[in-house]
């Protein structure tokens, strides 16, 4: 079976027969490509069946995380979503798609534009609070114009994003992170709580659970 997580920017593909995993830009997917089952913002263009992204995230959390109680946060380029389980039962979830969105993409664009290597920057204490990626970028440019080093300004934005994500996920003591932004070391180290990183194929684990149940049903 071919499973697909088609996000806004990247497509993650899993072949369940061979366990081969691939990542491509969504724009590089062939027009004729069809996965059997999938999830993600762009899924309806590329899969025969789709799973709700939060359901996929919840399934993935249950199958990959040993703890009975956990918070799993997925931060992609366009949006962020989380699920909270307590003693094995679902408690909360949320998904920010409009306000607060595009932060992942904004951080990537900003890094390219200012020519910053995030892996070489130390996390900052000070932070910029921004409602969404676009407004955040505006604040960074203002700081740079006021004489702050571009690296420091960008790191403050990242700290601000981390704090708002931490609050969004209801301030857990420990947070399991997945999604495109977890590859950004500065982002992970700027989180104000203990973090455990899951790889970017996490949602596909949830899709797999769904597909297995679907076939078993």
């Amino acid at each position: 079976m071919i499973l697909l997580d088609a996000g806004t920017t990247y497509a993650k593909i899993l072949d369940t027969e061979t366990d081969e995993r691939t990542v491509k830009r969504v724009s590089d997917l062939e027009k004729t490509f069809r996965a059997d089952v999938g999830t993600g913002h762009n899924i309806n263009r590329f899969a025969n069946r789709s799973v709700n992204e939060i359901i996929a995230l919840a399934n993935a959390g249950k199958s990959l995380i040993k703890d009975n109680s956990f918070t799993l946060l997925d931060i992609g380029s366009r949006d962020a979503k989380y699920v909270v389980f307590e003693n094995g039962s679902f408690i909360h979830s949320d998904w920010n798609t409009e306000c607060g969105a595009f932060t992942g993409q904004a951080i990537e664009i900003l890094g390219n534009y200012l020519n910053i290597d995030y892996s070489k920057i130390e996390p900052q204490k000070e932070f910029i609070t921004a409602t969404c990626g676009l407004l955040g970028m505006g604040h960074v440019f203002d700081l740079v114009a006021a004489g702050v080093e571009p690296e420091i300004a960008a790191a403050r934005l990242i700290k601000g994003v981390c704090i708002s994500m931490y609050r969004f996920a209801r301030k857990p003591k420990k947070i399991y992170l997945t999604g495109g932004l977890v590859r950004n070391r500065l982002f992970v180290e700027s989180m104000p709580c203990e973090t455990v990183i899951l790889d970017r194929f996490t949602l596909l684990e949830g899709v797999k659970e769904y597909a297995l149940n679907m076939n078993g049903a």
Binding site: N52, E53, I54, I55, A58, D79, V83, F90, I91, H92, S93, D94, W95, T97, E98, R170
Partner: protein
């Protein structure tokens, strides 16, 4: 009274009407009037033709009944279609869908006289003889002050501002019944008229809840109700309306902690703060807001919440 999904028998006259809040209907003191039966709007004759906004107190409504007034709910009129274009030059784009509806409703009533909407209104030829606005200290939102000023000073329609301090709760049988959620919203609005006409209160049977909806009616798109099971209890301001106590903040703040609850507000509504605050306090709460029309992500977020809570 007989009722089942989509069918509503009016007691007065016994006419059978398909009742559905999405239909083109007008809510009057005579009950729900469907699109083709709106001719009474064309000819209010010598009767006072009164628009109302919110839930005026009992004594005001009784006075209107005595005068044999034709009453039009500007909240509910044309509830099936949210046509906001007439407000485009008047209100900001990012603004409460319900206030857009109220203003658009006042403007569009003039359609029945086949005149250019804006012109006829601005020269003071709106057929509505008076608008009564419920503008209690604590009720819907502060925006009612703006709406009142606009009606009086821009549209030049006679305006009466009334406060509803009724605190006697009439009960919440509809909110806690098993009738479909979209019908609950419609029937709660109708209940208000039943009460002033001293009809037997509508008391559907209690049903054990699977989940709950907290908030104002989803004015921007009632189709959101279709995602909820019939066993959805209603809390928040809509419940206050069924109780005929729209300013009962204590009641508005209540929720059932044992039932997964969706805390809803219209986008740009000041009640969003309260809704998200309560959602955070609730052990199984989720806050959602919606502007005009349901988005794919709102539906996904809502259905995931209901599925993961094993509600659907």
């Amino acid at each position: 009274m007989e009722q089942s999904r989509g069918v509503y028998k009016l007691e007065n006259g016994g006419n059978e009407n398909n009742y559905n809040p999405m239909q083109d209907m007008v809510l009057t003191r005579h009950g729900f009037v469907r699109g083709k039966e709106q001719s009474f709007l064309k000819n209010p004759k010598d009767k006072p033709f009164i628009g109302i906004i919110g839930v005026p107190p009992k004594e005001v409504m009784e006075e209107l009944i005595k005068e044999d007034a034709v009453i039009l709910s500007l909240d509910m009129y044309k509830v099936d279609r949210l046509i906001t274009e007439p407000t485009d030059n008047i209100l900001p784009k990012a603004y409460c869908a319900q206030i857009k509806r109220i203003i658009a409703n006042i403007l569009s009533v003039t359609d029945f006289w086949n005149e250019d909407v804006m012109d006829s209104v601005l020269v003071g030829r709106n057929p509505i003889s008076e608008i009564i606005i419920e503008d209690s200290e604590i009720c819907r939102c502060n925006e009612m002050g703006f709406v009142a000023d606009f009606i009086e000073n821009e549209l030049k329609i006679k305006l009466r501002r009334v406060k509803n301090n009724d605190i006697e709760r009439k009960g919440d049988f509809i909110c806690k019944s098993g009738i479909p959620l979209d019908e609950k919203f419609g029937k709660i609005a109708g209940y208000f008229y039943r009460d002033i006409e001293r009809k037997k209160p509508f008391k559907p049977e209690y049903v054990k809840p699977k989940c709950a909806f907290w908030g104002t009616p989803p004015w921007g798109d009632f189709s959101i109700a279709n995602y909820f099971p019939d066993e959805t209890h209603i809390y928040g301001w809509t419940r206050c309306v069924e109780n005929l106590t729209p300013g009962d903040l204590k009641l508005e703040l209540e929720f059932d902690p044992d039932v997964p609850t969706v805390f809803f507000s219209q986008s740009f509504c000041p009640k969003a703060g309260l809704a998200s605050y309560l959602a955070n306090k609730h052990p199984r709460g989720m806050f959602i807001d919606m502007d005009i029309g349901l988005t794919r992500s709102t539906v996904a977020k809502l259905t995931a919440f209901l599925q993961l809570n094993k509600v659907i």
